[in-house]
Amino acid sequence: VHPNVSQGCQGGCATCSDYNGCLSCKPRLFFVLERTGMKQIGVCLSSCPSGYYGTRYPDINKCAKCKADCDTCFTRNFCTKCKSGFYLYSGKCLEKCPDGLEANNHTMECTSIVH
């Protein structure tokens, strides 16, 4: 084991170092790099923080950022809740609803026009 990697790690870390926090996570946890000033610290979470989405892979589970106009997302290209000022439609954040749909200012979604 690398000299700088300590075994007595906290939380969900599998390996960690004094300077960089978690280097790898226990199974099924998501690895996230948190920035504190200039420093980046690795942390292991059971789910990704708000504004991020998780992708599971055999060797690592990663969190990645949603698009700028999106608060929470399923994948980068599929938003589940838009930032204020945008309407959600089929995973996309729109400033204006497409023709044939109406903007619901309560749910901030584009919905079918009910006649």
Binding site: R28, S47, T55, R56, Y57, P58, N61, F74, T75, N77, F78, T80, S90, G91
Partner: protein, 417 residues
């Protein structure tokens, strides 16, 4: 969210009544089959992941009632086979991820996915992409299929994909002809390497008006058409082919072309006007060809020029021909002398005489200064003003990295003249 559990079976009525459910996570479980029955009751579902399970087959009509589904992730399973109607019913699907599976054949079932934009099936065992492979998917923007043992690609496989930006095909050794890309007019990056292409069609560029990067290395191309109509071309990679001539019209009017790699060909002749109109050209690699001379017209903007492996190119080069040169590789050391390497060479020799100088005494900063060209008689003990002046001057004439640099056994004079 049901991800990261040990679910091996999803009973038929598990989701009954969940008529508004939109997002379902079933990834990282122990499913061996698609829970077809359970998925029949989710009319509002828009996004689902079944990744990281042990699913081995997708039966026909597996997702037939998921008409609202937009995103479907099936990566990291063991999918080997796929019913011809496996994706029927997915009328709104835009993203399909089949990466990291064991598919043996091209997933023909995608033909019904008329709104598909993003498709991934890289890291499978697919050997061929058939003719008209994506005829049912006109909205495709990205297709990832690297890391498949693809040998054959149908000539019409990538036709009529007006939104496709990037196409990468590497190692498909059975490809003999350049693909017909009729209707795939937005292609910007085309990589087609390590195949057996002999000829580039004359009308190739007319089909690809948006092309920026064309990478065709490691094929068997002998003769080049005119790339004139590829007006946005910026990078051209033709290394490791069998090209023997560059004509006047080969690169004519390619005003955006920045980089050409023609290394490892058999080029004997380059027309004097071949580079004249290439106002943006900065990198030219002609390593290992059979050139006798290099036409200089149009090459004034070069920062990188590689000519090694052309033994017949013996004429000395002048600094005036390449005022912006930074990296130069030439057949003979004396051809580097135009770039002051000789003065640094003389300095180096005096430095070699002072070999008994212990490392501590040797000031690395002093050695860098020694290498400033044109300061052969530098006395090293410059005061700060001179040093500043010298540093300013060096920015104007940054040192040119020229190889092979002269040395005791690679003199500055061409001994054969």
């Amino acid at each position: 969210r049901l991800d990261a559990n040990l679910i091996s079976v999803v009973p038929e009525k598990s989701f009954e009544g969940l008529l508004s459910l939109r997002h379902l996570w079933l990834d990282d479980n122990a499913l061996t089959e698609i829970p077809v029955q359970a998925l029949n009751h989710l009319p509002a579902l828009q996004a689902m992941t079944l990744a990281l399970n042990q699913i081995w087959h997708i039966p026909d009509f597996a997702f037939q009632n998921l008409s609202s589904l937009v995103v479907l992730h099936l990566h990291n399973n063991r999918i080997q086979s796929l019913g011809a109607n496996g994706f029927d019913g997915l009328h709104n699907l835009e993203t399909l991820d089949l990466n990291y599976n064991e598919l043996l054949e091209f997933p023909g079932a995608i033909k019904t996915l008329g709104r598909l934009q993003e498709l991934g099936f890289h890291s499978n065992n697919i050997k061929a992409i058939p003719e008209n492979a994506f005829v049912g998917n006109p909205l495709l923007q990205t297709i990832h299929f690297y890391d498949n043992p693809i040998q054959f690609v149908g000539q019409s496989a990538f036709q009529y994909l007006p939104k496709l930006h990037t196409l990468s095909l590497n190692g498909a050794t059975d490809i003999r002809e350049f693909p017909d890309l009729k209707g795939t007019t937005s292609l910007e990056v085309l990589t087609l390497t390590h195949a057996g292409i002999l000829l580039l069609p004359r009308g190739m560029c007319q089909q690809l008006p948006s092309l920026r990067v064309l990478e065709l290395s490691h094929n068997q191309i002998e003769d080049l058409p005119s790339f004139h109509w590829c007006q946005r071309l910026e990078e051209l990679g033709l290394q490791h082919n069998r090209i023997h001539e560059i004509r006047a019209d080969t690169f004519v009017q390619l005003i955006a072309l920045r980089s050409i790699d023609l290394s490892w060909n058999s080029i004997r002749f380059i027309h004097p006007e071949a580079f004249v109109t290439l106002h943006s050209l900065t990198k030219l690699d002609l390593t290992d060809n059979q050139l006798v001379t290099l036409p200089l017209d149009g090459l004034g903007g070069l920062t990188h020029l590689k000519l090694q492996g052309n033994p017949a190119v013996s004429e000395p080069l002048t600094k005036e021909s390449f005022p912006k040169m930074r990296v130069l590789e030439v057949p003979y050391a004396y051809q580097c002398c135009a770039y002051g390497s000789c003065s640094s060479f003389f300095k180096m020799s005096s430095q070699w005489e002072a070999e008994d100088m212990s490392p501590e005494e040797e000031d690395p900063h002093k050695r860098t200064m020694e290498l400033f060209p044109g300061h052969a008689d530098n006395q090293y003990d410059l005061d700060t003003d001179d040093l500043q002046l010298d540093l300013e001057e060096s920015k104007l004439h940054p040192t040119v990295q020229c190889t092979p640099s002269p040395g005791p056994f690679k003199p500055c004079d061409n001994l054969f003249e």
